[in-house]
Symmetry: C2
Subunit: 166 residues, 2 copies
């Protein structure tokens, strides 16, 4: 359901799920934190789902493995993942926060289907260049940006056209 920007292929393909857990372990150790079963479970679920997950969805996935994991733990773990750069929080229009895996993934923006909720990632250097230029012309130095395009994906448009003669 989720496309990756351009054709960038990542080493390891689906196997890339393994590496972030090592990064997490390193981060945990380095900061004098402790290892925990729940944390692993949340991280594993998160990386195996692989894209734009809401806390609610993640809690569901985690609880399939362990019914007793609390919402608070999932929130706390996701913040930890964000802190060590393994997850990026995304806040789409009217929705609750979602997280996407970030390990080694380059910057990109999002297309969001208002029909089915599908989220497609894209990257466009020319837009980035123009953004930087606009910012500069206003004396701003850009630190981050958010570009979200909301609309109907091809499938939803087809469905709509099929349903009613226009």
């Amino acid at each position: 359901m989720i496309e990756t920007p351009r054709d960038r292929t990542r080493p390891g393909g689906r196997g890339a799920e393994r590496e972030p857990l090592a990064v997490l372990a390193g981060h945990v150790e380095q900061r004098g934190l402790k290892h925990s079963r729940q944390r692993d479970l949340v991280a594993e679920s998160f990386f195996s789902i692989g894209g734009h997950v809401s806390i609610e969805e993640l809690v569901g996935a985690v609880r399939r493995a362990d019914r007793r994991v609390s919402v608070a733990t999932v929130y706390r773990t996701m913040r930890l993942l964000a802190d060590c750069g393994l997850a990026v929080p995304r806040q789409f229009e009217g929705e609750q926060t979602r997280y996407e895996p970030a390990a080694g993934r380059p910057h990109h923006d999002h297309l969001i289907c208002t029909g089915c909720g599908e989220i497609v990632e894209f990257a466009n250097d020319r837009i980035e260049v123009l953004q930087a230029r606009v910012a500069r012309s206003h004396g701003f130095q850009v630190e981050s940006h958010k570009l979200e395009l909301y609309g109907r994906c091809a499938r939803c448009r087809r469905r709509a056209t099929a349903g009613s003669a226009g």
Copy 2:
């Protein structure tokens, strides 16, 4: 504090505050709603402030004129203004919803200073064209979009540079 996109001058200048109230009155009448003092007060305050106001700020402004106006009324009135196209809700990173006046104002996007919170509007047709093109290439038909550039405004950068060498 708020720049308008490009050099588009609007007829009436600051006097343009008057017209929206007439539009509101028409909308209210047309839909069989009733006129109220509080509603006028909220709308007046909103249009006289003139840009990117949070409900909290607006409540503050309104209460300077009438201490008893409730938060609920402000929320309800702003939704009414949004319904009749006189205000647009904007949700910036981590902040509560803000509203900006929309009467006759063309589309634009935002630069937000992460230092002082200043919000600058801008419009860039080339970015819009590229956005539409990207969307099309993914089979999407864009309905709306959100482009926000976060960074430091000139003043905040100057201040930072002055404070620390390096």
